[in-house]
Symmetry: C2
Subunit: 234 residues, 2 copies
């Protein structure tokens, strides 16, 4: 038997192969449908074989996030902190947009992997070398929150979704007048500046720039949290 056994034993399965297969499978079937058993089947292997490469499903998810983070461009050096940070964040956004499950997964992790930590370190570094104090940098990082990774966390993309329960749209229009007004304006925006409904990329950059501009103002005026005692006892 020159050809060993059947046709299997093609490549001996590594942690990296497991993670990449998991990412691809999650891209295909969605993160909630991803299971150790399906992943094993995809790799032509018995479920328990995976446990020789990742210690459990949590660590699998951590590893999957790391794979996605690996797709972020390296930091492009630049003279100006704002454009440097902006580019890095938009690059992260690009990576996460390619794997819609990843945003949800990274938010569910309880502690960052070294890869995530390295990314955060690079962003913090951009603020520090851009002239932000440690104090201001700290608050600014909090203010960015998950947006630092290009993650928007809108609530609900589609507003109501045809909930077949109460009366049809006529009553709805009366119940949520402002929502309807806004939804209406966004809907027939064909001839407006943003084509087709709602441009997620525009919304992201709008919010990001609003924050970055705010940061710049605070930096320029030498803001410090010491100037903002909010009536706390000392």
């Amino acid at each position: 038997m020159a050809q060993q056994t059947e046709a299997v034993r093609r490549t001996p399965l590594t942690r990296d192969r497991v993670l990449r297969a998991a990412v691809a499978l999650a891209d295909d079937i969605g993160i909630e449908a991803l299971s150790m058993r399906k992943l094993a089947k995809e790799l032509g292997v018995v479920p328990m074989a995976l446990y020789k490469h990742v210690s459990n499903k949590e660590q699998l998810l951590d590893g999957m996030v790391d794979v996605v983070m690996g797709e972020i461009d390296p930091p492009a050096p630049g003279s100006n902190w704002k454009s440097t940070v902006r580019h890095r964040i938009l690059s992260a956004r690009r990576a996460f947009l390619g794997h819609p499950w990843a945003a949800q997964v990274i938010q569910s992790r309880s502690s960052p992997t070294p890869v995530v930590l390295a990314y955060m370190d690079s962003v913090i570094g951009m603020f520090r070398t851009g002239g932000f104090s440690v104090d201001l940098t700290h608050h600014v990082m909090h203010a960015l929150g998950s947006r630092m990774m290009g993650i928007t966390q809108e609530l609900f993309d589609a507003p109501p979704a045809p909930r077949a329960q109460t009366a049809p749209s006529q009553e709805d229009a009366g119940e949520y007048p402002y929502v309807m007004e806004l939804a209406g304006a966004v809907a027939h925006d064909e001839d407006s500046v943003l084509g087709r409904g709602c441009d997620d990329q525009f919304e992201f950059e709008f919010a990001l720039d609003l924050l970055l501009d705010g940061f710049e103002r605070l930096r320029q005026q030498g803001w410090s949290s010491a100037g903002h005692l909010r009536g706390k006892t000392p």
Copy 2:
């Protein structure tokens, strides 16, 4: 038999009782440990009994969110849009802080319940009556994102968590210099303006005010998305 059967049949189990019990149980044991079976046991009932009141677990989660939203104060009328919005959002935050699982759950819902929609409607209304155009209100709501509900979505509260793998803290300090600098500053902040580590409430209000101030500036200068064509073909 004056007392019926045993001692049971205390209250006949309603949708409301189910939801409230679910909220309490999730508060106790965490959302990931909440199961239909445990909830049933908590209510002294067989698991399938729940399905007479909620059609499935998804709808249970929707209902739980609605219970939490019910704890938000009614909108306090006020002359000034910023303080009105601010109070409403901070009130929502208070409600969500009481149920740490709720932020995660609401972000996982695919479409808003009527209760959530009503809340969003009230916030949109505050911007509109405060002098914001439909256009600007739209973008402003996106920029708030989940912060509109008082939800921060920081990534990771505790930075590294003693990952017992590579060498101890000495190497870490070299690998993530900016993270360490920032963590150090936050840690021994006992005598600084923010006591004990990191004041989540302060961070939330810092970011919220940064956004609200930015909104106000745009409103005053009559901002419109038409003035910000980002090099798109018309």
